[in-house]
């Protein structure tokens, strides 16, 4: 096979894979609206993706806000604009860092676990067992995780933003001596509904990306321990890359 043929075969394989990914998510959502409705499964997944990611999200948000305030303070001081620190921290958090970092944290904590869980179920034939019981695995396993991702990540991003802005206040106001009133007034005057709306839109998109990619990679794991390992790695890498690419695209559309 010459190079052009190999390239063509690779391209066809990738296009087929993308088609399979799109069909995977569409059919999972289609199963979601058919009875029986699995409310309990959705709540269970929301608990796993959302509640159990709260600690790591709070920790990341706190330190991100603090370091942002530290960097921002010394940059703004050069121009005598320390009073704008609140707006710098809040806008960075709400527009960019909140959605991106929270989604990356969810990928690392919950996304990898989702891929591993579904992958093990595939290898040990538990997914086939669901099929043989006439229970659609996409309805029972995948759709609740997709919904939990779409609902859970925006809630985590909201927590991230609030904690991050308070982290900025801790450093800016309590350590570096900016007036508390100036900090919060700057936050209030700078943040508009458009910024919040953009952040929510991003977080919903990233929530879908994480749960979609991680479920897909687990569902089509190759039948070996090595296959499971590489599926988990691919899920985390691909989700992270798509979050960053998606962030650029959404930012350019929203501005």
């Amino acid at each position: 096979m010459n190079m052009i043929e190999r390239l063509g075969a690779w391209a066809v394989m990738r296009v087929r894979e993308m088609g399979r990914m799109v069909l995977f998510v569409l059919s999972s959502f289609a199963w979601l609206v058919r009875p029986p409705f699995r409310f309990h499964q959705i709540m269970k997944q929301l608990h796993f993706i959302g509640y159990r990611s709260t600690f790591v999200v709070v920790l990341t948000a706190g330190f991100t806000g603090m370091v942002l305030a530290l960097q921002g303070y010394y940059s703004l001081r050069k121009f005598g604009s320390e009073g704008l620190l609140g707006s710098a921290v809040a806008l960075s958090m709400i527009r960019e860092l909140g959605p991106v970092l929270a989604a990356l944290m969810v990928t690392a904590r919950a996304g990898s676990a989702m891929t591993a869980e579904i992958g093990i179920m595939r290898i040990t034939e538990q997914i086939d067992a669901l099929d043989t019981m006439a229970i659609n695995p996409r309805q029972y396993l995948i759709a609740p995780k997709l919904v939990a991702g779409v609902l859970g990540v925006p809630l985590l991003v909201a927590i991230f933003d609030v904690v991050g802005i308070y982290g900025g206040s801790l450093v800016g106001v309590d350590l570096l001596g900016i007036s508390e009133g100036a900090y919060w007034n700057s936050v209030e005057s700078a943040v508009e509904w458009k910024d919040v709306y953009g952040g929510i839109l991003k977080s919903i998109t990233f929530g879908l990306i994480v749960s979609w990619i991680c479920c897909y990679k687990g569902f089509y794991t190759r039948q070996s321990a090595e296959g499971l390992g590489s599926a988990t790695t691919e899920a985390v890498v691909l989700s992270s890359v798509l979050i960053l690419v998606g962030d650029y695209i959404l930012t350019s559309l929203l501005l």
Binding site: I120, T124, Q126, D128, A129, D131, T132, M133
Partner: protein, 251 residues
């Protein structure tokens, strides 16, 4: 009745099934034997629609299932149950919850009725009082028993057994075989088993079929099968089915 007509299946460039014609008698125990990697499990998975053939037809009574999907395939699958090689119990559920799973999820059954049916099945497979344990806490034999209880709980017409005694010592293997036979005789379901356990399977099966080079080369009653004069089949059954025959591929 399950009937396969000219079923062919390839994985990549590797042909596994190359025109399988097979009819499974109703209410009997049929065992499919063949060398390691000859495609026995692949064949079994075609019967319940877990795999689709590249060519050929799979009939369950008057329904051709090889091109079905979604709700229509699920309607056919409601008549089936399957016991997998590793039992395929759900790790996150206890034995009780595993057995109750199809009752709750498919029949939307609740309360004391579920408890009664699950306890009854656990008793039948010799797992009384083990319902609270999780799959990881069970031995291989107990896992198979729990898997069998889950397969039986919906009282299916057809049960597929994919090497149900793999990984068990001879005594445990015999106890699982005896249990399967006892359940089959009692409930009268159609049993289709893939197995390596020669000569034990001749004592428990009504019919035996042999898969070789992707085709069924012989299907006969257990007694007739043992009297075959085909030298390769004779060699296979005389060495206990542990040697892969020429043409063996992947399972």
């Amino acid at each position: 009745m399950i009937k396969l007509v000219g079923v062919e299946k390839k994985f990549g460039d590797q042909p596994v099934l190359q025109g399988v014609d097979l009819t499974i008698p109703v209410g009997k125990m049929t065992t499919i034997i063949g060398g390691s990697g000859s495609g026995k499990s692949v064949l079994l998975k075609h019967m319940i629609g877990l795999l689709q053939p590249d060519r050929g037809e799979v009939w369950v009574d008057d329904v051709e299932i090889s091109r079905l999907s979604g709700t229509r395939l699920n309607d056919v699958r409601k008549r089936f149950a399957m016991l997998f090689q590793g039992a395929a119990l759900f790790d996150s559920l206890s034995v009780f919850e595993n057995v109750a799973f199809p009752l709750r999820e498919k029949l939307r059954m609740k309360g004391p009725e579920v408890v009664q049916r699950v306890e009854e099945k656990l008793k039948e497979v010799g797992l009384t009082g083990m319902g609270h344990k999780f799959p990881a806490e069970l031995s291989g034999g107990m896992r198979k028993r729990a898997g069998l209880a889950r397969a039986l709980v919906m009282e299916p017409e057809i049960i597929l057994f994919d090497e149900p005694t793999t990984g068990l010592d001879p005594l445990l293997a015999k106890s699982i075989h005896d249990l399967i036979v006892a359940m089959q005789r009692r409930f009268g379901f159609t049993a289709i088993m893939v197995s390596h356990e020669i000569p034990e399977i001749f004592g428990i099966s009504d019919w035996v079929a042999m898969l070789r080079k992707g085709k069924i080369v012989l299907m006969a009653t257990a007694a007739e099968f043992q009297r075959t004069t085909d030298p390769e089949i004779q060699e296979f059954i005389s060495v206990g089915g542990t040697v892969a025959l020429p043409g063996s591929r992947i399972d």
